[in-house]
């Protein structure tokens, strides 16, 4: 018996493909000779078999360190930029971290972690390393207020959907994403760029949207992904003009018909698709027919992904799901049959399932459960609306009522605002149960989006 052949990221990178790059706003790094270069100061061998915390202030060095560490380290924990430092100690203990790759070596001097490796640019020459093992990829869940959960993946699980889709047709794609690549949605795009023989253009949180889009254009980005909130911001900014990617992808939040139609109008020659994926459930499926929701016949076993709906929530079993939560008091990630409960609530209408919201995001209106996303989807159908957020507000009469914050399209005539409000309310009354119709609509200039690219649903207002 011979062990299965193990592929690491380095095994997808070779010198035969020229002009491949990975870049951010400051640097462009060639991927062609990347295997004979090091971002780790040539110290990769010290990290062999270690449990490595990847804690860097930028995505470029993070991505380069992932390429080097995969297949060498025992596990690597990817820290997203918005990680609360107060949670680090608990995560380090739970993941059994015994080495850190950082750009702030001084900060780790008295941390009790003996092996501290600095990631630095420019790259230095080194002898290419050989894949030793299947490295465990540890990612953090987003959206929870306490210590995030650590989710364990293998490269094989992370890339299952990419391999299943096969190579991109035509010339090598240039991928970009509004996500950070240390989050599941962004990592998928980074891995696509590596496996597809293409290039990758990274985002920069400090860059203005207009400058970011100019850079995407200049670097020839052909494939790009983001959350519906990312895309709504782009559509509102007016920066989309002249940018013509071949493929526009949405994931991470519900892609409603309004944002799909908006993108199709802004990018008439692009294919627009939305994908369903989560850190725990992995990539479930992609929908490319331009419609919100997904065909009901996606349930059952399809391309190795099994899906079912129990108590309204979508459950997924496949080789692409994470294999466990990691840590001493970690809960089970799947049920006894190996299904991950996504917590995403779906509703069958006709021959299609529609996402109505998150189980944990329900607001209580006079004792009735309401998904804010369902209300937003109706509001967003108004042609003058760019983005909206529904939430509950305390009421002395019913306990709670629905209120909505709405962003109107740029240049909307102020004289029409009352008329638009009446039209939105009429639309909501026609399509929603009466307790879901917003009692108050407030027009706002902006809505907060979390670092993970999702509409912020918890603020003080």
């Amino acid at each position: 018996m011979s062990p299965r052949e193990i592929f690491a990221l380095r095994d997808h990178l070779g010198a035969e493909l020229k002009v491949r790059t990975i870049s951010d706003a400051q640097h462009v790094v060639s991927l062609t000779d990347i295997l004979s270069q090091t971002v780790l100061g040539g110290r990769l061998s010290e990290l062999s078999g270690r449990s490595v915390l990847l804690k860097l202030s930028d995505q470029l060095r993070s991505g380069l360190a992932m390429i080097e560490l995969d297949g060498i380290a025992r596990r690597m924990l990817l820290c997203p930029p918005d990680l609360n430092p107060a949670h680090l100690d608990a995560l380090i203990a739970d993941a059994g971290i015994d080495a850190v790759v950082t750009d702030e070596a001084g900060r780790w001097a008295n941390s009790g972690i003996s092996l501290v490796v600095t990631a630095q640019l420019p790259l230095e020459a080194t002898a290419p390393a050989k894949t030793e093992r299947a490295t465990e990829w540890l990612m953090l869940t987003s959206g929870t207020s306490g210590v995030p959960k650590i989710v364990g993946h293998t490269l094989e699980a992370l890339t299952g959907a990419i391999v299943a889709e096969g190579p991109a047709r035509g010339s090598a794609p240039v991928w970009a994403t509004f996500y950070d690549i240390r989050r599941y949605g962004g990592l998928q795009i980074f891995l696509r760029a590596i496996l597809s023989g293409g290039s990758m253009v990274l985002s920069d949180p400090h860059e203005a949207l207009g400058d970011h889009v100019a850079r995407l254009k200049a670097r020839g980005v052909s494939h790009i992904s983001g959350t519906p909130s990312h895309w709504r911001k782009l559509l509102m900014s007016g920066s989309a003009a002249q940018f013509a990617p071949a493929y526009v992808r949405l994931s991470g939040e519900i892609a409603d018909q309004a944002v799909l139609d908006g993108l199709k109008a802004a990018f008439p020659n692009s294919s627009v698709g939305h994908a369903y994926a989560s850190t725990e459930a992995g990539v479930g499926f992609a929908v490319n027919d331009g419609l919100e929701g997904f065909p009901a016949d996606y349930l059952g076993n399809r391309n190795g992904v099994e899906m079912k709906v129990i108590d309204g929530s979508l459950r997924i079993r496949s080789t692409r799901t994470a294999h466990a939560y990691v840590g001493r008091s970690a809960a089970a990630l799947t049920d006894d049959d190996g299904f991950v409960d996504s917590g995403d609530i779906v509703e069958l209408r006709g021959d299609r399932y529609y996402f109505v919201g998150r189980r944990g995001g329900i607001i209580n209106i006079g004792g009735l459960k309401v998904h804010p996303e369902e209300i937003e989807a109706v509001i967003n159908r108004h042609p003058d609306v760019r983005m909206s957020r529904a939430k509950s507000r305390k009421s002395p009469i019913t306990g709670g009522i629905v209120v909505a914050d709405v962003i109107l399209a740029d240049g909307t005539d102020q004289a029409r605002v009352k008329e638009i409000r009446d039209q939105i309310l009429a639309q909501c009354r026609a399509q929603l149960a009466s307790h879901k119709v917003p009692a108050v609509i407030r027009f706002v200039e902006a809505l907060d989006v979390t670092p993970a690219g999702k509409l912020a649903r918890t603020d003080a207002s």
Partner: protein, 81 residues
Amino acid sequence: MSVRSKVIEAIRQIAKEQNVTLPELSDDLSLHETGFDSLAFAILVARLEDDTGVDPFTISEDAAFPATVGDFVRAYENVPA
């Protein structure tokens, strides 16, 4: 616009939205007879709070919810500025 006319206009607007046919709005009319359900009152109180900056029914813990249209209007008129 006086507080009274603001309140009356909001009642008419919500009645229109909720397809409620209002009887003539006299001070003696009991709120029950307006045809408003609790959701409609909740909307009314929220809109008036946004419009006038006050919610007289949350401010005062011992405030009983008014029984008539006149009581309801006075609850807004009597809020200290």
